[in-house]
């Protein structure tokens, strides 16, 4: 058996991806099929391309945080608010009232239902997606460098050491705080305080997730239940509901019932609370 010409292999390199995905015209596919048995190098390429293709097909998508949706909804509401006076005052030839009215309550109700459904899905996806990796250890240097003792953590988070810490840095602190902890860790109390009192909803959300990682600690369930009436941000509310449901915390039901009736809660939050009650009882 003679060694294949290097030029032949070079030509093969361009053809093999199409060969593997079965999109080569018959004549070229035949040429590849004739070359392959004579050439271990090209055979290896085919094996690798197939494996790579399978791995690409199996790759999981990145899931955005729920904050993305919250920001989008906020932006949309802002744009709608800007639009309304224009529609009334600029008065284009078509009847503007019809346009304004039609956006209100029926269209909105429909959309809220749609948002509600998708938030549930996304939130579940976030939980599941993160769950898979929560067990994994962070790189050792990162954990060592950024994990202060609970007292320092509390100081840093509340700014009581005189330094103001930005929201994104607080998120970082909170996220790293729960990587390695032992039973009775005072970090849990720090995180509970952050969940209830940090002014930034994204930091509170990070505290939720950090606490969820520490859910084996007996204080966590209680704290999540008690935090429900304190929270006003819809993302934090929905995250709490999802966590309580996934941890099957039945004593959250009375709080969920109250939340489901709260007039200041968004319809989507109230619907989620209702759904949560349904799953817990």
């Amino acid at each position: 058996m003679k060694t294949p010409e290097p030029t032949a292999c070079h030509e093969m390199e361009a053809l093999l991806p199409a060969y593997v995905e079965h999109s080569l015209p018959a004549a070229e596919a035949e040429r590849v099929a004739a070359h392959l048995p004579t050439c271990p190098g090209c055979q290896l390429q085919v094996t690798q391309l197939r494996a790579l293709s399978d791995d690409l097909d199996a790759a999981l998508p990145e899931v955005p945080r729920t904050a993305l949706r919250a920001n989008f909804i906020a932006m949309l509401e802002q744009q709608k608010a800007q639009l309304k006076p224009e529609a009334t005052f600029a008065a284009p030839p078509a009847p503007p009232e019809a346009k304004v009215v039609s956006m209100w309550p029926t269209a909105l109700a429909n959309n809220w239902l749609r948002i509600a459904a998708s938030i549930v899905l996304i939130a579940a996806g976030v939980l599941l997606g993160r769950n898979l990796h929560w067990g994994a250890q962070p790189p050792a240097d990162l954990a060592a460098n950024t994990r202060p003792a609970h007292a320092e953590l509390a100081q840093a988070l509340t700014g009581s050491n005189g330094n103001t810490v930005s929201a994104s840095d607080r998120i970082q602190l909170v996220t790293n705080s729960s990587r390695q902890n032992e039973p009775g860790d005072p970090t849990v109390q720090v995180l509970i305080n952050t969940l209830n009192f940090d002014p930034n909803p994204n930091v509170r959300l990070a505290a939720c997730e950090a606490l969820y990682r520490l859910r084996d600690d007996s204080r966590v369930r209680e704290a999540l239940v008690h935090s429900l009436p304190i929270q006003t941000d819809p993302n934090v509310q929905i995250t709490l509901i999802d966590m309580l449901v996934s941890m099957r915390v039945r004593r959250a039901v009375p709080q969920l019932e109250r939340l489901a009736k709260r007039p200041d809660a968004l319809p989507v939050v109230r619907a989620q609370a209702e759904a949560g009650i349904g799953k817990l009882i």
Binding site: L49, L52, A59, L68, M75, A107, N111, P139
Partner: protein
């Protein structure tokens, strides 16, 4: 999208639901940075609203929105370059701070070999593979988006796949 164009902004919600995940993925693969990609995804939807009157109903929405996402990413890239040139010290200082936050945010879900290999590809090659393999774009659609023929898109995608293979199986 025609309804959004006619100022019924609530009709953007179902479009957001359908596209924000894929767009976020696309941008995350381009930037290798989840936090930035959330901002850029938001920017895409801001621009959809801002430029809604320029939407042609004959045009597929998907093509239009990905074109928008490409532009948003290109702007982000240029801004970053300009910033780097304008004030290296400043970027180094804040870059260091942000670096700490990014180290766990960026592509946090997958610390696997495949995504590491993808991240090593030049951006144009990575983009074409992401569109083809993760976003469900056919070669025809890729060609339209990148301004080349479907056949050229196919050749580029295959070259990118070979390049990825070499990185992926390097050791």
């Amino acid at each position: 999208m025609a309804a959004v164009k006619a100022d019924d902004l609530d009709q953007l919600v179902p479009l957001f639901e359908r596209y924000h995940g894929p767009l976020f993925n696309y941008l995350t693969r381009l930037t290798n940075d989840r936090e930035t990609s959330e901002d850029l995804t938001q920017t895409v939807f801001e621009r959809i609203l801002k430029y809604r009157s320029s939407y042609q109903p004959t045009q597929p929405f998907k093509a239009w929105v990905y074109q928008m996402a490409r532009n948003v990413h290109a702007d982000h890239w240029h801004r970053k370059e300009k910033l780097r040139a304008a004030d290296v010290d400043e970027v180094e200082r804040t870059g260091g701070l942000r670096g700490a936050a990014f180290s766990q945010m960026r592509v946090s879900n997958h610390h696997d070999d495949l995504h590491e290999a993808l991240a090593l590809l030049p951006t144009p090659q990575r983009e074409i593979l992401v569109l083809n393999r993760f976003q469900g774009f056919g070669y025809e659609e890729i060609g339209k988006l990148l301004g080349c023929t479907a056949e050229a898109a196919r050749v580029k995608a295959h070259r990118a796949l070979q390049a990825l293979r070499k990185i992926y199986f390097a050791n």
